[in-house]
Symmetry: C2
Subunit: 276 residues, 2 copies
């Protein structure tokens, strides 16, 4: 009996985990969560912290905010879409002010660290900014594509990129300006490809990123590399060119992994998609 229970507690989580990679499997998670909540006191349910949905949606609320925590700290990896039951809650997070507040918190923490360092006059002390969901926001695109509940459509997303109208993320633009005023070099490093260099520059300039030390994109020979391989290679090249990388900022842990990321890295929120 005890063995049976153990076996069950062993299998259930696996099915839940896969559900994070397959929206259709997510019902299993809901069932498990429902079971968990039925065994919890109503006090617990009322008090539950979640993504802002009340009453009968408490199950969705709780399971989705568990997905939120575990995706943002990089415990949940390899997911291709958000659980479809989370779409409304992710939409609320992205549109409702909390995303912007969390971004302000990132800017605060990064500036607090970098204020403690004196950037030299030679322009070689640099901070690396990722672009998508870091310097620029693709929220207008994701609003039309279910906030990550749809499988990523590369051609369609490229079309959006080539419009060159992605807005700045306000907290990151403020951070960029504060760092420039303190003599920091800003390196933009993106998974976008070289053929998108011009439109990316146009977009950055249009929203207020007035200048940068260098803008690094994937060359044709780098397209086959993983995000970590590509970005590490680029960072090592920067070091060979005499740049001192103090910090990296990105919405994906793959922006912050590998060699030469700097002494402190800063993870920006992004519950909409995962890049391994």
């Amino acid at each position: 009996m005890a063995a049976l229970q153990q076996r069950a507690s062993e299998l259930m989580p696996m099915r839940i985990a896969r559900s994070w990679q397959s929206a259709s499997m997510f019902r299993v998670y809901l069932l498990f969560t429902l079971f968990s909540l039925l065994t919890a006191s109503s006090f617990c349910i009322e008090q539950s912290m979640g993504m802002g949905i009340e009453g009968s949606h408490i199950v969705m609320k709780t399971s989705c905010s568990s997905f939120f925590f575990n995706s943002q700290v990089n415990n949940a990896q390899g997911w291709k879409v958000i659980p479809e039951e989370c779409e409304e809650l992710v939409a609320q997070y992205m549109n409702g002010g909390q995303y912007a507040m969390d971004m302000e918190g990132v800017a605060v923490a990064a500036l607090d660290y970098l204020k403690g360092i004196k950037a030299g006059e030679d322009g070689k002390d640099v901070v690396i900014f990722d672009i998508d969901e870091t310097a620029l926001s693709n929220l207008p695109y994701y609003r039309k594509h279910r906030y990550g509940a749809e499988v990523f459509d590369h051609p369609l997303f490229s079309k959006w990129v080539e419009e060159g109208v992605a807005p700045a993320i306000p907290a990151m633009l403020s951070l960029y300006r504060a760092l420039q005023a303190d003599n920091w070099g800003i390196v933009f490093m993106t998974g976008r490809t070289e053929n998108q260099r011009n439109i990316t520059s146009v977009n950055l300039l249009a929203v207020g990123y007035g200048e940068w030390t260098t803008l690094l994109l994937r060359s044709p020979s780098e397209v086959h590399l993983s995000a970590v391989e590509y970005k590490t290679q680029k960072r090592l090249q920067l070091q060979e060119q005499g740049y001192r990388i103090w910090s990296s900022l990105g919405d994906q842990w793959s922006d912050l992994a590998g060699a030469a990321v700097g002494n402190r890295t800063f993870k920006l929120p992004n519950p909409m998609y995962h890049i391994p």
Copy 2:
């Protein structure tokens, strides 16, 4: 004028950041947040995701959950106490079911990864569990000490530890049992000191952690080391002894940094305290 605004946006965040390390400074953050919210649409405020406080407490709600995100992804470092305005919200998170749900999410993700690996028969394939806020919960202690809004009192906390009555974290106990059934060796590695070995063993056994490969605590010669230095040294010693470390689980990023943490690490939620 533009320069002035820039200077302002530059200084404000620094004062906010410090406020995360000094509850008395937190009012500055509230003022800034209030300003941010006044400039946001009421739609945004209503939609805001936070830690569950309504209406007039929306400012606290938003700023506290920004602290939550930034502390949990390791952007905010070096904080000694939680912002006192967050005490009630952290209490709700810890007591209200969400903490338990997030822990289940961690167990799910860890088991999903480890199920893909076949632990050998020699008992040398191991997973490292931290103890406090990982295998065991000190929530009964923190309930009496303002959920981290009080400065850490080492003698008082040691007294609590020596009672040996810390409950298990249910999701981690389930994970432990599932891993044992799959032949994994479990290593407990804790910042607790050798003189607490007996009471720690008694406590682990009492709540259901029936056996382990080894229990590692700080020897007198290791007390001066940082958490990362101490835990890295211990992990390297394990490797020298022929153990294969596949994963580390802990509530602090300092449990998961340095050499030999394994191929995947799992960050558990803990908004109550930070160990550098």
